[in-house]
Symmetry: C2
Subunit: 307 residues, 2 copies
């Protein structure tokens, strides 16, 4: 089924304890759509870049099956740029530079054929823009997933709450769930957030896995213990992309299928962190993806028969 | 099969964000043997207390099936006492008081009938004392599990490494695994530690679950997301007690059975943190334990068929 991905397509410059990069491809929508492309080729990408965005990157996205009619190219401007330095534990980072450039006055205009998409993934973006996307839909998608971050809780809380109230699935990390709800216990936080509108909440805990909540059930997906986490940038977006890509492929939005989707999302995130940027996420084989998912199955599978 | 538990039996005074206690029952061996008692009644407890240790506590331990021939009572001395205050996140704490009392010159003497025990659980204790216990064995148990902490890595490293080299299973937390191995990656840390002697390593991550490693395999058990964690004291010991208790009950030390055992251990820990001290761990019904284990099954169970 058709998947519409809206979010940033950008350049990043990243420093980790293992090395540093020049400007490389980044942006939430890049990771989301690449991860989703292993599950469906029926993807539209809506975003904005500047004249500095290379044709090779556009070709790479197209080779993964994305339709780019909705990718605005502002020839006389520069692409969004973010630079950050990760600390030794890779769980925290300093932002070194944020240059909005084309993002400063981005108006996400949906191509006509995407306005009745089946699945919509709203990557992390100003909440008003996420709402602007939803306003252009001509029918309610089967599923709308929204990702956001603490920055918008600090600077655009009311807009964010309004956007959240309109979606089916919200994905945020553990500290953001605490901030949004005012509850320290993630179980209590989830209950409060689910009263704000979404039917499903995913709390991402990085190397500690992810929790999937609806009002009655909870499911936990681990992160794969890796020998080396090289660069965590894009892990959450790859997770979201694998999640919604799998749902779009299987056309099943039941809680049981979301459990599977969260495992596929975790698998995609585990690839992303193994190299800088999108390097590992480009050109994976179907076999690599399935082997990785099998590692998740082996990691948590046990057999207890209670009498 | 017979289980010998060696460790502290003590008084604690605990402050958490939710309240504070006077002197209550504590000590690693108390939690371990109580948790194990839900799986086997063939348990000997070797420890030391002072004349201040109440008959009611001894009666409680006996009512859980423990044999106390090895519990030394020093009538003219006081029991080991620890006092601590947990921070808001419950993941860190300050020690307010440590009074060794009877522990200062504790010599763990194994009653004759325990020297050929089938399972041995060495609770956190000075590594020389853990070795002293192993020296008294008249045959190698089917399984020896050792728990320890960073304090001994700081103050008795060589003794600790020697003790570790003699056991089958080592249980430590994530920061201790990093300290012991000098590796940040838990996968690399596990590989190094398994070269120090143990066949199996369990890395406890508190609210983030636990990892079980042998040289070829890894298994992850989640912690149950709880509405409220009230008092984390004794969670790791309850986990270890449930783990070894289940193994002693089932007489099977295969990796697959250890996966089950770690889930039962996690279930016992999830009870402990719901109230102060051992309050929740005393007098559970078999039904409560099974219901809790079912919650763990529901939490991580998914069904993916790869073609």
């Amino acid at each position: 089924m058709s998947l519409l991905v809206v979010g940033t397509v950008a350049f990043d410059a990243i420093e980790t304890p293992f090395g540093k990069t020049d400007k490389i491809l980044g942006g939430a929508a890049t990771y989301i759509s690449l991860a989703a492309s292993y599950f469906t080729k029926d993807i539209d990408l809506v975003s904005v870049v500047g004249g500095d965005y290379p044709q090779s990157a556009i070709d790479m996205l197209k080779s993964h099956g994305m339709r780019l009619d909705g990718l605005q190219i502002k020839q006389d401007q520069k692409s969004f740029f973010w630079s950050g330095r990760y600390h030794t534990d890779l769980n925290s980072r300093d932002t070194l530079a944020t240059e909005l450039n084309v993002l400063a006055d981005f108006d996400p205009i949906l191509p006509e054929h995407t306005r009745n998409c089946d699945f919509l993934m709203l990557g992390n973006l100003m909440p008003k823009l996420q709402q602007r996307v939803m306003e252009q839909l001509t029918r309610r998608p089967k599923l709308i997933v929204l990702d956001t971050m603490n920055f918008w809780m600090d600077t655009a809380f009311d807009d964010l709450v309004k956007a959240i109230s309109q979606v089916d699935v919200l994905t945020i990390n553990d500290s953001e769930a605490r901030q949004l709800s005012g509850e320290y216990s993630l179980v209590k936080a989830a209950q409060k957030i689910l009263e704000m509108g979404p039917k499903v909440l995913i709390i991402k805990k990085g190397e500690h896995g992810a929790l999937l909540f609806n009002k009655e059930q909870v499911f936990f997906a681990p992160a794969l213990p890796l020998e080396d986490v090289f660069d965590p940038t894009g892990a959450g977006d790859s997770f979201a992309g694998g999640f919604i890509g799998y749902l779009a492929q299987t056309k099943d939005i039941s809680f049981d299928n979301m459990k599977r989707a969260i495992i596929f999302g975790s698998a995609m995130a585990s690839f992303t962190v193994e190299k800088f940027g999108v390097e590992r996420l480009v050109g994976l084989s179907q076999e690599e993806v399935e082997e990785r998912v099998q590692e998740f199955i082996d990691l948590v599978q046990f057999d207890i028969s209670l009498v």
